[in-house]
Symmetry: C2
Subunit: 208 residues, 2 copies
Amino acid sequence: MRRTKAEAKETRQQILLAAEKVFYEKGVAHASMEDVARAAGVTRGAIYWHFANRADLVLELYNSLPMPQEDLIARELEAENADVFGVLERVGREWLELLATDEHRQRILSILLRCDTSGEFAAISERQNDLDDEHMQALEAAFAKAEGQGKLDGAWTPRSAASMLRWVIKGLCSEWLLFGRRFDIASEGKDALHRLFATYASHAPSAR
Amino acid sequence: MRRTKAEAKETRQQILLAAEKVFYEKGVAHASMEDVARAAGVTRGAIYWHFANRADLVLELYNSLPMPQEDLIARELEAENADVFGVLERVGREWLELLATDEHRQRILSILLRCDTSGEFAAISERQNDLDDEHMQALEAAFAKAEGQGKLDGAWTPRSAASMLRWVIKGLCSEWLLFGRRFDIASEGKDALHRLFATYASHAPSAR
DNA sequence: CAACATACAAACAAGGCTGTATGTTAGTTT
DNA sequence: AAACTAACATACAGCCTTGTTTGTATGTTG
């Protein structure tokens, strides 16, 4: 019954896909490893061979998502006269489109959003929190740069602008994912982003 | 061992308090009824006497939170020349302060946010969703009224304004609750609300 | 082509937790 | 004060799960 390495990788992939499906449908807490195994067409033995336990399985699900290249964005923002708002708005749009078109991402993020973050999955949510912290720092720095360029309206501080942006994106995505995707996240999201960045810009040109 | 009615109510209250504490610390999924019973100084028998099961217990926890009087707010907005933005901003501020000062609310909402909404607790999250829907409709109607009064900046539609407001408040509260309350939600929240409503107002008077 | 490691399946052991059924004591009603 | 019932405690049955261990056939390597 021994499989070749390539076949094993495929098995692992099958398990991940099955986990995504089962966890999404039944919830991480209420789905058993047996459920996942059945859905993958293997036994629990296979799962425990490839993954240490359920938490590890969920973690690997999360790791299977390619994340946007942050360093690349950071480099774009390095230039002295970088168009901060332009870059940020574009990055936001790209993220929304990524989410809107990648169903795996949708399901996996739904799983993470719905799962009980205390206890066994604390590690995962902590990693997300750390990432969030980094994002906030980067965002704040970017807005500070815009402020230095005189482009940030006086009503905003770098921190308040960054916070608001994050809250909006998080709220948008959570609502869309948890709520049955009842609206067009790409179009409504881009819309919202555009409005938001318009209010950041110092003294809207009042183009009447 | 039979208790008087008043004592029984107290027992029930103790159980609710214990559940709040235990569920908050260990997570709803990973805490057993026995844990709750011990924390309350009773046995599981008492819990099952007062509550049907764990889901019911959580539901009653949620029900124990007094909710803002929405009809009252609606009435305030009914007046022909009502100050929509003023009322909404005040309501938002009041909600933030309520959350900031009521530790029970903080813990219970944290529990709800962290708990696995699929499966046994689906009913609760559905109720929240329904409430959210109502709020959205009310909000949209309010902004529509402001639009009718010529107070809503042309860049916004009632729907986009309402959505944005909700996303911001939700994002703000979730982050604060899930993230260890690492900032002053009352002050930062009011700040954000004020900025947001300023952008809603048609052509900010540019009070320089 | 041994010898070994890999990739699983199948069996096992153990436990924790839920829900319920039953027991018991003390209020409550008449 | 007897009869009834509310408010629990205790005991029980049973299930489902997890993690592990053992078995085994097959790649893989020297």
